[in-house]
Amino acid sequence: MSNYKAIMIGGSAGSFQVVTKIVASLPKDYPLPVMLCLHRLKHVRSGFVEALSIKSQMPIIEPDDKDPIKSGRIYLAPANYHMYVELGNKFALSTEDVVNHSRPAIDLSFFTAAYNYKNKLVGIILSGANKDGALGLKSVKDAGGLTIVQDPNECQVPTMTLASMNATNVDHVFSTQKIINFLLNLA
């Protein structure tokens, strides 16, 4: 059993296929909650969960505000809300202004998860076209959590991973397959 209590993954342009591969590889009884904060169109509320769910064995849920965070589930930040982790392992959603042109903003999800889980969090940044997530991943590192970025050479758009590597000394630079192996080893 690993020391970690939660996994948070941030991604944007070019991350959809990577996320799909990751969620498809996790077993139904995966023992940790997996939170996804992916950039998405603000006004398109439906379709994303359905598309990710096709190959996933774990249930994928867009949490409602105040829902408890449970193991064995994948949570996707809903459209047009920021997704925060509130102390006590609950979600808190917010309609505060966009950050890095995004709502949900990856930085904000990571800040709040790092604050709640401290060194028990694994933060992963995937392909993306802006720098959202870089400061978030730094906050995970600063709180003692484990940080991983997708190998920029493999990313469709490496801006986000490179910005993250600039912002903090990340623990691992992994290919998609290595990320999957790592997550499976936590189980």
């Binding site: 509320r45 505000d65 105040k66 829902d67 925060y84 102390l87 808190a92 917010s94 309609t95």
Partner: protein, 274 residues
């Protein structure tokens, strides 16, 4: 500007505000409140929690301005167009069939929700058939809303896109004028609206509303306040009345879930049981 504020500092600020102004923020979602305090500190060029606490204790803060800045006003005109379509097509025709029905916009912040509702009522020709009550804790904001909301043009572009998805009757530009890059909504839309400072977390009820909008307000509250507010909302609804929450809010964490049934699980529309 600092990017984090610890729990201890946050609680010090909450205590100082309560001491000086008698307003209690201790039941707000800590994560969101920490970010809001940081935001206001940034606006006021205050560099640390200790300095803010000192300024509050010396009464060097314009508290109305502080509350105004603390409020989250980033909703949109016609946020969730599909909800507004349903309000237009199903809810309002029923509610307005009995004259003098009351609708309550609780927790108004920017006025965008209120103006959206009033545009819908206007387009249905029902503006004078219902009584709309709007509650907002900030007088600064009520004044701004009465002057037309005064929205940055970027927000209007978003509102216009939402209005198009809502399939409104007219060009959205009909509803506002532009001055110095700010949009002023047509204030005749809200001329019959009754404004007050009613605070849903504290005040008593009058049990007479046929429809209450409370969208994305309780996401700022912790569990005890969420429960109390929902109980108050229940007391303000007539039997069969509609309660509309934000589309990622739920009544499922509350006791009141037994006293309501789900009318639309996607748009989060509930009705009070008899």
């Amino acid at each position: 500007m600092s990017t984090t504020l610890g729990i201890v500092d946050t609680k010090k600020i909450i205590a100082a505000i309560n001491d000086m102004y008698g307003v209690d923020y201790s039941n707000y979602t800590l994560t969101t409140l920490r970010r809001r305090f940081l935001y206001v500190m940034g606006c006021l060029n205050i560099l640390s929690a200790d300095i803010l606490v000192e300024q509050i204790h010396r009464n060097n803060i314009d508290f109305d301005d502080f509350v105004d800045k603390l409020m989250i006003d980033t909703t949109e005109l016609f946020r969730d167009p599909s909800l507004w379509r349903e309000v237009r097509e199903k809810l309002l025709p029923e509610i307005c069939s009995s004259p003098g029905s009351k609708i309550w916009m609780s927790g108004v912040s920017s006025g965008e929700e209120l103006y959206s509702l009033m545009v819908v009522l206007h387009e249905m020709g029902l503006q004078k058939d219902v009584r709309v009550v709007a509650s907002c804790p900030s007088n600064i904001r009520i004044d701004r809303i009465k002057k037309g909301g005064i929205f940055p043009m970027k927000r209007m572009e978003l509102g216009e896109a939402n209005y198009t998805r809502f399939s409104g009757k007219f060009e959205f530009t009909k509803y506002y004028t532009v001055s110095d890059n700010f949009a002023y909504m047509d204030t005749s839309l809200i001329e019959n609206v009754e404004f007050n400072n009613f605070n849903i977390s504290q005040d008593k009820s009058d049990k007479s509303y046929r429809m209450i909008f409370c969208r994305n307000l309780m996401i700022q509250y912790n569990m005890p306040l969420y429960e109390r507010v929902l109980q108050n909302l229940m007391d303000n609804l007539t039997v069969g009345a509609y309660l509309i929450l934000g589309n990622k809010e739920t009544i499922n964490h509350s006791e009141v879930s037994k006293r309501l049934y789900t009318f639309d699980s996607i748009e989060k529309i509930y009705r009070k049981r008899s």
